[in-house]
C-alpha cells in the first residue's frame, strides 16, 4: 500500500491570509478513526496540523453551531492546518464519522 503525502501547498491554499506563526506546529494524527491526541493543548498562535493516517477519508469540522470551519475531505495522507490565535477551547469532530471527536485547548 502506498500512501499519498501532500507536502506543503495545502495549508497555503486553505489559509491564504495567514502568516506562518512563530511557534512550532502542533500535530494531530488521525488514525484508527480517532484523533490523537484527542485533546491537544497549545499556546495561542500555534498552528495545528492534522494528518490523516487512515485508509478512509475524514474531516476536521467545528462542533459548534454555527460552524466556523470545516476542512476539505482528507484522503489518506492528506493534511489540514489551522492556526489558533486566541485562548479558548475548540471542539471538533469528523463530519463523516461523528463519533470521532477532539479538542484544541489554547492557553
Amino acid at each position: 500500500m502506498q500512501r499519498r503525502i501532500l507536502l506543503g501547498g495545502l495549508t497555503a491554499a486553505l489559509l491564504p491570509g495567514l502568516a506562518r506563526p512563530q511557534a512550532p506546529d502542533a500535530r494531530v494524527l488521525i488514525d484508527n478513526f480517532a484523533f490523537s491526541p484527542a485533546t491537544l493543548t497549545v499556546k495561542a498562535g500555534t498552528r495545528v496540523v492534522w494528518t490523516n493516517g487512515d485508509d478512509i477519508p475524514h474531516t476536521v469540522t467545528d462542533a459548534a453551531t454555527p460552524r466556523s470551519f470545516r476542512s476539505p475531505v482528507l484522503d489518506t495522507g492528506d493534511r489540514f492546518a489551522m492556526a489558533f490565535p486566541t485562548p479558548g477551547t475548540t471542539h471538533y469532530f469528523c463530519s463523516l464519522h461523528p463519533h470521532m471527536q477532539g479538542s484544541v485547548v489554547v492557553q
Binding site: 484508527n32 478513526f33 485508509d55 478512509i56 477519508p57 462542533a63 475531505v73 471542539h91
Partner: protein, 304 residues
C-alpha cells in the same frame, strides 16, 4: 440488547461477498447471497441490493474496487431472474468525485436494471451532495424519495448528512415530516421496503453504526404488517426482526469491515487471506423472529 442476543447477532455476521438477491413472496422477504445458487422466485416481487462500492478506494485489501463491482454486476446478471429492480444503498464512491460516479454508473448500467440509489457519507462530500443527487436520485434534491413497484412501497432515505458531533446517522426533521406524509394514507397491509445507507437501528454506537432519529422513522412504520429495512455502511451482514420490521445490512462490493468491537476501529479488514476476498467466512444461517411476527429474513449461505 442482552448478551444472548448480542452473541446471536455476532454469529450472524459474514463478509466479502457481492450482493444480495431479495424476493418478496407472500409478504415474506428472503435474501440469498449472490453466488449461492439463489434464484429469483417465479412469482412475487424480487429485487437485488448492492452496497458500498467505494469506487476510488485503492488500498488493502482491494486495489480494484471497480473490478469487484463489475464482478458483482456480472453475478447480478447471472442470478437476477425476474428481479425487477436494483437498489444501491450508498457509498457508491470513495470521495464524491465526478469520475468515480461516472465509473460506478457505467459499471452498474451493465445490469440493465432500473436502479435506485441512496447516498452514503462518501457520496455527499462536496456541495452538500448536489453532484450525487443530480446523477443518482433523479431530482430528489434531498436524496430521499419513494415509489411503488408491484404493490410494494419503496422508500429511499438519506441519513448521511448534517451529522452532529458525537452523534450517529441523521434523518432530520424535514425528512421525517416528509415520511409522515408519504405513509399517511397507505394501508397497513401494503408491504414496505425502506433503504438507507447507515443502519436505522443501532448496531454499535461506539463506531457510529446507527441513526440518531431512526427510532422516529421506525415508529411510523410499526403499524405496517411487513416492513423490511435494508442498509449498508458496515460492510457485513447483520439482521434481526423486531415485531413486523425486519432489518438487514448488506455486504460491500469493495472491502469488509470488522465485526463491532473486534478491532481498534471500523476501518477495512486489510489482512484478508489471499484469494478469499470474494468468498464468505463463517457463514451462519440466521432466523430471528420475535413476538407474533410472521416475518423472517433468511440468508442462504455461500459455499466455501
Amino acid at each position: 440488547m442482552d448478551p444472548e442476543d448480542r452473541r446471536g447477532l455476532l454469529k450472524c455476521m459474514l463478509w466479502a461477498g457481492t450482493g444480495v438477491l431479495w424476493t418478496v413472496a407472500g409478504g415474506v422477504p428472503r435474501s440469498g447471497l449472490l453466488g449461492a445458487g439463489a434464484e429469483a422466485a417465479e412469482t412475487g416481487l424480487s429485487f437485488v441490493q448492492i452496497s458500498d462500492s467505494h469506487i476510488g478506494f485503492s488500498n488493502a485489501p482491494n486495489t480494484d474496487v471497480a473490478g469487484t463491482l463489475g464482478e458483482a454486476i456480472g453475478r447480478v446478471n447471472q442470478l437476477k431472474g425476474n428481479a425487477s429492480l436494483l437498489i444501491h444503498t450508498g457509498d457508491v464512491s470513495q470521495l464524491s468525485r465526478a469520475a468515480q460516479f461516472d465509473t460506478a454508473a457505467q459499471i452498474i448500467k451493465g445490469a440493465g436494471m432500473d436502479t435506485h440509489y441512496v447516498p452514503g457519507e462518501h457520496d455527499v462530500l462536496d456541495e452538500d451532495g448536489k453532484g450525487f443527487f443530480a446523477r443518482f436520485t433523479k431530482g430528489a434534491a434531498g436524496g430521499y424519495y419513494s415509489f411503488d413497484q408491484q404493490g410494494v412501497h419503496f422508500i429511499g432515505l438519506n441519513n448521511v448528512q448534517n451529522l452532529k458531533a458525537g452523534g450517529l446517522g441523521n434523518l432530520g426533521a424535514a425528512q421525517l415530516e416528509w415520511l409522515t406524509k408519504d405513509l399517511k394514507d397507505r394501508p397497513a397491509s401494503q408491504p414496505i421496503v425502506v433503504f438507507a445507507h447507515i443502519p436505522l437501528w443501532t448496531i454499535y454506537q461506539d463506531w457510529g453504526w446507527g441513526t440518531d432519529d431512526g427510532v422516529q422513522a421506525l415508529a411510523q412504520l410499526r403499524r405496517f404488517g411487513s416492513v423490511t429495512v435494508l442498509n449498508g455502511h458496515i460492510h457485513q451482514i447483520m439482521q434481526k426482526v423486531e415485531g413486523t420490521i425486519a432489518f438487514h445490512t448488506a455486504l460491500s462490493t469493495a472491502f469488509p469491515q470488522p465485526a463491532p468491537g473486534t478491532a481498534a476501529s471500523p476501518g477495512p479488514i486489510k489482512d484478508v487471506p489471499a484469494g478469499r476476498l470474494r468468498s464468505v467466512l463463517g457463514v451462519t444461517t440466521v432466523k430471528q423472529v420475535r413476538g407474533q411476527s410472521h416475518l423472517a429474513i433468511v440468508d442462504s449461505p455461500l459455499g466455501t
